[in-house]
């Protein structure tokens, strides 16, 4: 009764946006779609929200087929596009009433559902939507997407361009909505948000790399990750890229994350190599893998397979 996709593919002229995508989102689940810009997240949303027809495959939302039951789907899903797309020249209240009306409902009818979010923007209800701050706009857009009590909520990069505090607040709101039996599909390019989802799908180049709970994805990480730091970060990166034991190396915060091809590899070997290359202030320590590490590894394997 959540969302299910079977072998969905979609191409735009020469670009393949989605390649044979299949997965299921359980009812009441908070499911994350994690991937960089251009991975195909928005295309997938547009297929599921009946705005775009897939070339191949079938998909259903809340038990209804996206092609044959599109009318029913439009009644029971909420969609919050990545770009703020409410009327700038209407006030907060007018926007809400407008969307309530076209869904044949009223603000009062489903007030319970949005109350918690709406009270935060209520003081500005006579302000035009275009004059709200980024975080406020986000809340208003969420209210508008929820106004008709949807069974499934699609949120396309809801936190892009929002400050860290508002992002945190926003995810807390989603967690609370989940308790009201709303299935949610959220896409994001922020890897740290992945751990807040029940399950995530890592997506790149229109292909799903991995689907699991964030915890399991991290556990499955096959290699030891080392935090590496030295005085000349750029030269360090270049040298490690040339190092024959390197499986992957990429910047991660103030460190470089390094993994080796060799399972028996030790940090001593690494330090030895770096000293040989005349690096100074060398720091090497084991790091706890994150979703981002998994993504980087999987995406590297994916592109190697592709070539």
């Amino acid at each position: 009764m959540g969302i299910s996709l079977h072998h969905i593919s979609k191409s735009f002229k020469s670009v393949t946006a989605l390649k044979d995508i299949s997965f299921d989102v359980k009812s009441g689940e908070l499911f994350g779609l994690i991937g960089p810009d251009g991975a195909g997240k928005t295309t997938l949303f547009r297929v599921l929200t009946t705005l775009l027809l897939a070339d191949e495959g079938t998909a259903s939302v809340a038990g209804m087929d996206v092609v044959t039951d599109y009318k029913a789907i439009r009644n029971s899903v909420g969609y919050m596009p990545g770009r703020f797309s409410l009327y700038h020249d209407l006030t907060v209240e007018e926007n809400l009433n407008f969307f309530a009306t076209i869904f044949n409902t009223t603000l009062e009818e489903n007030y319970d559902l949005i109350k918690e979010i709406y009270v935060q923007i209520e003081p500005f209800k006579n302000r035009r939507a275009g004059k709200l701050s980024g975080g406020m706009k986000q809340k208003l857009a969420l209210c508008c997407a929820l106004i008709h009590k949807p069974k499934v909520l699609f949120l396309d990069e809801p936190t892009t361009g929002v400050d860290p505090v508002s992002r945190k607040e926003f995810w807390e709101m989603l967690k609370r909505l989940q308790q009201k039996d709303i299935t949610m599909l959220v896409s994001t390019a922020y890897m740290d948000e992945a751990s807040l989802c029940d399950r995530v799908a890592l997506i790149q180049d229109g292909t799903i790399l991995e689907i699991d709970t964030p915890q399991r994805i991290i556990e499955k990480f096959p290699r030891t990750i080392y935090n590496v730091k030295a005085s000349e970060t750029y030269r360090l990166l270049k040298d490690l890229e040339k190092y024959e034991a390197t499986h992957s190396v990429y910047p991660f915060g103030e460190f470089l994350h390094f993994t080796s091809k060799d399972a028996a590899f030790t940090s001593e070997e690494l330090i030895q190599f770096l000293e040989q290359e005349h690096h100074t202030e060398i720091e090497v320590s084991e790091a706890i893998p994150t979703i981002e590490d998994s993504f980087m590894t999987l995406s590297k394997e994916h592109s190697n397979n592709g070539n």
Binding site: T49, N75, P81, F84, S85, Y87, H88, L90
Partner: protein
């Protein structure tokens, strides 16, 4: 119904909140009407006129006096040679030159005929034709005078000439404003409807709100009616204001029935709004919509018979004008206001336009897709 009403309320709220939009809808058309109606004139005035007199006779002096006294021409002076006159015309300092050849008077008296030459700057062909008419009128008048003054008795022996009196119907004083104002009114209604409706839908595309709307259960027809009706209302309102101005300020007669005019306008606006919507379906930005609308607007207006008569267009162009809605409205507005045409008189145009409205709106609705 509730949805459509709400869409209308929303649309009007947005229109009235947009100060630039208010200006475009209410102020600019009025300024255009006032300016264009006074400026778009076919009368040719202040043509710069010069004479090259090589005869220096009493006849030539009399002729020069005639031209000097004329109110249609600004007399720029006498030039002593053809060469100077040519140079002056080349420099754009004069528009019309009359050459009086040597022995003009003598040949007139001896051979009872004389020849003159006029050179007219014909870059603007229609102005040149009018100037030619003025010159001929003055010469004709001069001809009469010399027949009486100089030939006296002989003139009375000339056979009586055919005298023609002309009555101008429907616009007895040939007042160009009476002719132009109704046409310009059509232009204003067209511009407001075509541009605003098309741009409005594309704007929602640009803002991304259209996508949000498309995910809602709103029906295609509800959305389209909600989008076009406000501009239909504004178009009708614009026509009403324009008519009041035409009556009060320009004193254009209203022989026919106002109701008939509004009936025709109501169908006409459907056509224009349909075209606007059709354009918006095939464009993604307001800029594209604007250029495409301009493309059609310019063709429609210049081929509408508003400025140049359709009868004088080449045959293929006349066929093309059949597809020009502006042409029908310009015709009907003039017919109703000046001739007092009845419903039966405008029936052919009304039927054609109704079919047009049906076709273009079907196309527009068909090409508007919620899913792609």
């Amino acid at each position: 119904m509730r949805t459509i009403r709400f869409l209308l309320v929303k649309e009007f709220k947005q229109i009235f909140r947009n100060k630039a939009m208010l200006l475009i809808i209410f102020v600019l058309p009025l300024i255009q009407l006032l300016i264009l109606s006074n400026a778009a004139s076919y009368e040719v005035k202040n043509s710069k006129f010069a004479i090259v007199d090589l005869d220096h006779s009493s006849y030539s002096r009399a002729l020069i006096q005639k031209f000097e006294a004329s109110s249609q021409f600004d007399f720029m002076g006498l030039f002593s040679s053809e060469k100077i006159a040519k140079e002056q015309m080349q420099q754009g300092k004069i528009d019309v030159v009359l050459y009086i050849p040597v022995h003009f008077e003598r040949s007139f008296q001896k051979e009872k005929k004389g020849s003159l030459l006029t050179t007219i700057n014909a870059i603007n062909g229609s102005a040149a034709a009018v100037e030619n008419m003025y010159v001929n009128a003055i010469l004709k008048d001069f001809n009469k005078t010399i027949q009486v003054d100089f030939m006296g008795a002989e003139a009375s022996l000339q056979p009586k000439q055919l005298h023609i009196d002309t009555l101008f119907w429907f616009n007895p004083e040939l007042n160009y404003k009476t002719f132009m104002v109704p046409g310009i009114l059509v232009l204003l209604v067209t511009m407001v409807a075509l541009f605003l409706a098309g741009m409005n839908i594309v704007r929602e595309k640009e803002l991304g709100t259209l996508e949000q709307i498309n995910v809602t259960p709103i029906k295609k027809h509800q959305f389209i009616i909600g989008k076009l009706l406000p501009f239909w209302i504004i178009g009708m309102f614009e026509l009403a204001v324009g008519l009041v101005i035409a009556r009060l300020i320009f004193d254009v007669p209203m022989v026919g029935n106002f109701g008939l005019l509004f009936l025709f306008a109501s169908v006409y606006l459907l056509v224009i709004l349909g075209i606007g919507m059709f354009i918006s379906n095939f464009t993604d930005t307001q800029q594209q919509a604007m250029f495409l609308s301009w493309f059609f607007a310019v063709i429609f207006i210049l081929m509408s018979g508003l400025f140049t008569p359709i009868e004088s267009m080449p045959a293929w162009a006349q066929v093309l004008t059949e597809a020009n809605p502006v042409k029908y409205f310009v015709e009907v507005v003039r017919m109703v206001m000046l001739k007092g045409a009845s419903l039966l008189d405008i029936m052919p145009q009304l039927i054609k336009l109704s079919i047009y409205a049906l076709l273009i709106n079907t196309l527009a609705v068909w090409s508007y897709k919620k899913v792609n």
